[in-house]
C-alpha cells in the first residue's frame, strides 16, 4: 500500500525527478521534498491562494493537486519567475507600488497575475480584480496589488 512512485515533470523550466508518496500534494512536494519554500501554505483547502502555482501555464492551488497528477506536466513556482538574483517586471512592480507588506500572499498573487498577463496583454481593472479573486491578502487592501499588476502589464506591453 502506498509505495512511493518516481515522478518526472518540468519544474521552472528544468526536468525534475523525485520520489513521492501518492497521497502527498503538489504543495507538500514543492516545499517538503524539493525544498522550494516560496510557495506558501495558508489554508490547505483551496481558499486562500497562497499556494498558487502555474500548472501547464494556468494558475492552480497546489494544495489541491495530488503530486502524482503533475507527472509529465509543467509547473512554474514563484522561484521560476526570474533567474536567480533578478526580478521579473511583475515583482519589481509589486515592490514599487507597496504591494508587499507581510509578503505571505505575494508569491500566490504573483502567480495569479502571471497567468493573467500571459493570456491578456492589457487587462482592464475588472479583469485584474477577477484574476486575484482567489488570493486573500490581509494587509494591503488589494489596491496597491491591482496597481502593481496594471503597471507591470503596461511596462511589459511597452517593452514589446
Amino acid at each position: 500500500m502506498n509505495p512511493t512512485i518516481t515522478l518526472s515533470f518540468t519544474l521552472n523550466g528544468r526536468p525534475q525527478r523525485v520520489d513521492v508518496s501518492p497521497n502527498r500534494t503538489l504543495l507538500d512536494l514543492l516545499r517538503e521534498e524539493i525544498g522550494l519554500t516560496g510557495t506558501k501554505r495558508g489554508c490547505d483547502v483551496g481558499e486562500c491562494g497562497a499556494c498558487t502555482v502555474l500548472l501547464d501555464g494556468r494558475a492552480v492551488n497546489s494544495c489541491l493537486v495530488l503530486a502524482p497528477q503533475v507527472a509529465g506536466r509543467e509547473v512554474v513556482t514563484v522561484e521560476g519567475l526570474a533567474p536567480l538574483g533578478t526580478l521579473a517586471p511583475l515583482q519589481e512592480a509589486f515592490i514599487h507600488h507597496g504591494a508587499v507588506q507581510c509578503g505571505f500572499c505575494t508569491p500566490g498573487m504573483l502567480m495569479s497575475a502571471k497567468d493573467l498577463l500571459d493570456h491578456s496583454a492589457r487587462p482592464p481593472e475588472r479583469e485584474i480584480r477577477e484574476a486575484i479573486a482567489g488570493n486573500l491578502c490581509r494587509c494591503t487592501g488589494y489596491q496597491q496589488i491591482v496597481e502593481a499588476i496594471e503597471d507591470a502589464a503596461r511596462r511589459t506591453h511597452e517593452a514589446r
Binding site: P22, V45, R58, N61, C63, Q69, D115
Partner: protein, 288 residues
C-alpha cells in the same frame, strides 16, 4: 491524508476495469478540488484505491452533434467559460461556471466532478437541468443514459453505482433567439459557495409572447427540479416586470411548501422571489 494506492487510467476501458476490480474501495479522481478537501477532514473516508482519470484525453471534448451539445466530464469550468460553443448554445452554463470558486478552482475543477459530487450548491447543475441534460455512465457492463433530472436522490447521492464512470454530458442546444441567465447569491463574490441560485431560460415568439420558460432554483431544495407552476404562468404572456415578480412569488411559495418552514424561511422566501425575478429580467438585459 491517509495512504492509498494510486492508479492512472489511460483510457475509459482502463478506468472502468479498475473500478470493477476495486468496487467500493476505489474512488475516481478528476480535478481533485472536492476530493482533496474531503480527504483532509479528520476522520474522512479516504479510499484504498484512487483511480486518476485526469489524463483521459477523450473525456475532455466540447462538440456539437447536430443540435446536441456534447461535453466530456473533464471539461474544466474555465474551459466552459472560454468555449464558443457553450457561449453561443447555452450561455447561462458559462455564466454559472464563471461564478464557481476562484480562477484557480475553475482552472482545475471539472464539470464531471461538479455533477458527480452533487453538492446542493453545485453551480453547473441548475442550468444543466434547465437544458434537459442527460449523462452517460460507463462500466465494464456497457453504457447507460440517465436524465440529470432523475439523477439525484438527494444532495451528494446519485443513482450511479460505484463501478460507473461518467463519460459524457449531452443536451439540446437552446433554440436560436432563446435567452438564458444564471444568478447566484453568495456570501462574498469570489469563493462563495452558492447558497441560493437560479437558472432560467425564456423564449419569446414574433407576436411577443413567451413560448418557452424554464426555471431551476439551485441550493434551495433537496433535489433540483424545474419550477413548473411558475413556468406555466409565464407561457402565453408577454414578458413584463410584474409577470416576472409573480413567477418569483410562485417559485418561493412552492419551495417553502415543499421544504417546510424553517428558521431560514423568512430570509429565503423574499430572496428566492427576488432572485427569480432578477434572473428572468437578466434574460432580457442587453448586456447579458
Amino acid at each position: 491524508m491517509r495512504p492509498f494506492s494510486y492508479i492512472v487510467a489511460g483510457s475509459v476501458q482502463e478506468a472502468v476495469a479498475a473500478l470493477h476490480e476495486h468496487g467500493r474501495d476505489a474512488r475516481v479522481l478528476a480535478g481533485g478540488t472536492d476530493l482533496l478537501v474531503e480527504w483532509r477532514h479528520p476522520g474522512a473516508r479516504v479510499p484504498r484505491v484512487v483511480v486518476d482519470i485526469s489524463r483521459i484525453e477523450s473525456l475532455r471534448d466540447i462538440s456539437l452533434e447536430g443540435r446536441d451539445v456534447l461535453l466530456g466530464p473533464l471539461t474544466t469550468h474555465a474551459e466552459l467559460i472560454r468555449s464558443g460553443v457553450i457561449r453561443s448554445e447555452a450561455a447561462f452554463l458559462a455564466s454559472a461556471a464563471s461564478t464557481i470558486g476562484s480562477p484557480q478552482i475553475r482552472n482545475r475543477g471539472t464539470l464531471g466532478g461538479n455533477i458527480m459530487n452533487g453538492a446542493a450548491c453545485a453551480d453547473t447543475v441548475p442550468p444543466l437541468i434547465a437544458l434537459g441534460a442527460r449523462v452517460t455512465l460507463s462500466s465494464v457492463d456497457g453504457e447507460r443514459d440517465c436524465h440529470l433530472s432523475g439523477f439525484y436522490n438527494k444532495p451528494y447521492t446519485t443513482v450511479a453505482n460505484p463501478n460507473e464512470l461518467l463519460t459524457q454530458v449531452r443536451f439540446p442546444a437552446l433554440p436560436r433567439g432563446t435567452k438564458s441567465a444564471f444568478t447566484k447569491l453568495g456570501r462574498r463574490n469570489a469563493l462563495s459557495i452558492s447558497r441560493l441560485s437560479v437558472a432560467a431560460v425564456v423564449a419569446v415568439d414574433e407576436t411577443g409572447v413567451i413560448t418557452d420558460a424554464r426555471i431551476v432554483p439551485g441550493a434551495a431544495q433537496t433535489v433540483w427540479k424545474r419550477a413548473m407552476e411558475a413556468e406555466k404562468i409565464l407561457i402565453g404572456n408577454p414578458p413584463s416586470v410584474a409577470l416576472f415578480a409573480e413567477a418569483g412569488r410562485v417559485v418561493s411559495g412552492v419551495l417553502i411548501r415543499e421544504t417546510g418552514r424553517r428558521w431560514s424561511t423568512e430570509y429565503k422566501e423574499p430572496v428566492i422571489a427576488a432572485l427569480v425575478r432578477r434572473t428572468l429580467e437578466k434574460c432580457f438585459a442587453v448586456n447579458d
